[in-house]
Symmetry: C2
Subunit: 393 residues, 2 copies
């Protein structure tokens, strides 16, 4: 009835494939590797309860009143201090704006930068939430191949040369959906290719803190060498996603424009949540809390990879994540992952078929598995079921 | 440095005049009628503290986990029940989506309906947050005159005929910025004019519950007579704005599109806040709480109107609000409200000049005063200062 009223942008947005899938996979008898939820162990519930009572006592009406678009100073200062300490960034609170989750960061960046048809370079496959967000601003996507060590440099060079993208969106650490991490060497090569281009580079990093193997953090692409770098971060995977709190770090001129866009989008993010997270962070040891999450995810990832090695047909490939929440499975070319999905559901195990992570999904033979929301025994049973489905396609 | 990267939409968005003003007006020696903050008395702090502990005990990890884009069922059900009871609306939770404040409702509606250059009819003057939000989607605004009893019907007819707007955005109760309320008769006339047009009517109603004079609620325009009506509501003025929780009530087909737009915008609104407000609403008497707010605002409004009657030059006109948070002042034509602003600041009193409420501000001789955030004595002193400034221009 309203077809003629809706905007072109909304009509062109892919229907949420994943939400449809999640409906099927929510039946209790199904073992689901389809979601992307952090394990509830990552929520420091007791400490947050102490913090909420403390902010109610200490700040009174302020935690309930309208607040500034940029976000709470003490929370922004925490971010500044952390990024200075870890990455040596030369930033102040003026380089940081709080967003309603990282998803809003993507929406605001789309609003601030994208004109109809502007070219945006993304990984192949890429985070579906980014594709949805930028689709609303009618971006024209260019997908660059991912290899085990990061972006395919030749493909990247060709894309840059051919399409002259205005923005690039990359997830260098424990990428969603593949679980891959760019090597230090690959990052240097990527920066060599892009540094003299008129290109804004967005590095989204919700999982970077969750490295459970292979030691140290790897510096961002062009870290401290480019004013055209935008960094996204989030408290969703290390404290709580329910508060919807993320942030953008960028040049002040960019942050000022994003502030204007945010004012028009939601005035400001939930200020109670900002006081709560800030109080939690200033009164607890975040790194110690993260260790607990990493220990759990390491054993879950290892259970999944171990089971895949044991039960999957040898023609099936999969990534070995060193952090984050996902692994990415590639079945034989020519086989249909949609058929596999139907067979898997019949065997009571679910995953996300690769389609929504591609701009133009064709002959998709990939799928995403999440390991953070099932115990090791359940993971093993689920992978056995999936292995049976795999032998049938 | 980034001028060439920014989108046309953000470059065309008016810089936030009001934020610049608020910087000047935040000095402690200034009596400010410029803001739009609810009085902290409207936050039921003790009850919210009880609720936050209760939801932490009752729901555990759920209050911190990712949640659905549509919003918490129990909160949506509360809204359904209330609108059924008060307005006899025939709706279910499928007609209601929770938004990150009403500001996000405006952003999402813009996303879902507006193509570049689509005509949108708004009041003259209109809410500046709407102008900003829709400006991002490059709406072409048509402003329709407001009289003391509501929209000027002849002007409305002409605008509808000439511009064929796709959307209309109205605030029928205690409008921001004017404080005016459409009479029941005016609402009927407005509906007669628009009902057979291809026009979606958005009625934003953040202040409707705050009627402190003249008895009963007046039904919405076309209430229960049009599938093309969209209703906006908010908990900001009756419980807390800091949680950023508002909602949209509309036809299911529209809500479904808004859900897609919201998923791309912030996945979902803060779920902790939704549990908190829902628990508060289900365990307390909202209407009794609202009575307390109305009593306070009535005395504050009456102090302001009384002082304006006593001290303002007779050439100055102003509205007599029967609810809400604002009054609207019109000085003699030809006088500059910008000059007045400078003189007022010199006398240590602040207001918002009318400019940001117009699409094409020219020779502006109007200004907005807020009365909810100062006590009666302070209001009287502030109005005396403003009266002195008025005699000088």
């Amino acid at each position: 009835m309203f077809e003629n009223y809706f905007s072109q942008r909304i009509k062109n947005t892919p229907s949420s494939f994943i939400r449809e899938i999640l409906k099927v996979t929510q039946k209790p008898e199904i073992i689901s590797f389809a979601g992307g939820l952090p394990n509830p162990i990552s929520f420091p519930q007791e400490e947050l309860k102490i913090s909420m009572n403390r902010i109610a006592d200490n700040f009174g009406a302020k935690i309930y009143q309208y607040s500034t678009t940029m976000g709470l100073d003490s929370l922004r200062q925490f971010i500044v201090d952390r990024y200075k300490r870890i990455w040596g960034m030369d930033i102040t609170v003026d380089n940081v704006i709080i967003t309603t989750g990282s998803q809003q960061a993507l929406d605001l960046i789309g609003k601030v930068f994208i004109n109809d048809g502007d070219k945006v370079l993304v990984e192949k496959p890429s985070y579906l939430g980014l594709l949805q967000a930028f689709c609303m601003y009618r971006a024209d996507f260019v997908q660059s191949k991912l290899n085990d060590d990061g972006l395919d440099i030749e493909d990247l060079k060709n894309n840059i040369k051919t399409y002259k993208p205005k923005l690039a969106y990359l997830i260098p650490n424990f990428q969603n959906p593949t679980g891959l991490t760019y090597t230090a060497e690959n990052r240097k090569k990527v920066f060599e290719v892009i540094k003299d281009e008129n290109l804004i580079l967005i590095q989204d990093d919700p999982y970077g803190e969750l490295r459970f193997e292979d030691g140290e953090r790897i510096p961002y692409i062009g870290l401290n060498e480019s004013e055209k770098n935008i960094y996204l971060g989030s408290f969703s995977k290390i404290v709580t996603p329910g508060m919807r709190l993320g942030y953008i770090i960028a040049n002040k001129e960019i942050i000022k424009m994003i502030e204007t866009a945010k004012q028009a989008s939601d005035l400001h993010s939930n200020i109670f949540g900002q006081y709560l997270i800030s109080d939690y962070l200033h009164n607890n040891d975040l790194d110690k809390h993260i260790e607990k999450i990493k220990k759990l995810y390491k054993s879950q990832a290892s259970a999944m990879v171990g089971a895949m090695e044991e039960y999957f047909p040898k023609t099936v490939k999969f990534t070995h994540p060193k952090g984050g929440m996902f692994t990415w499975v590639t079945i034989q070319e020519g086989k249909s992952v949609t058929d596999l999905f139907d067979k898997a559901i019949a065997k009571k195990v679910a995953f996300v078929p690769g389609h929504p992570f591609y701009v133009n999904p064709q002959n998709v033979n990939t799928l995403r598995l999440n390991y953070t929301n099932a115990d090791e025994e359940t993971i093993k049973i689920g992978i056995q079921r999936l292995a049976q489905a795999l032998t049938e396609v």
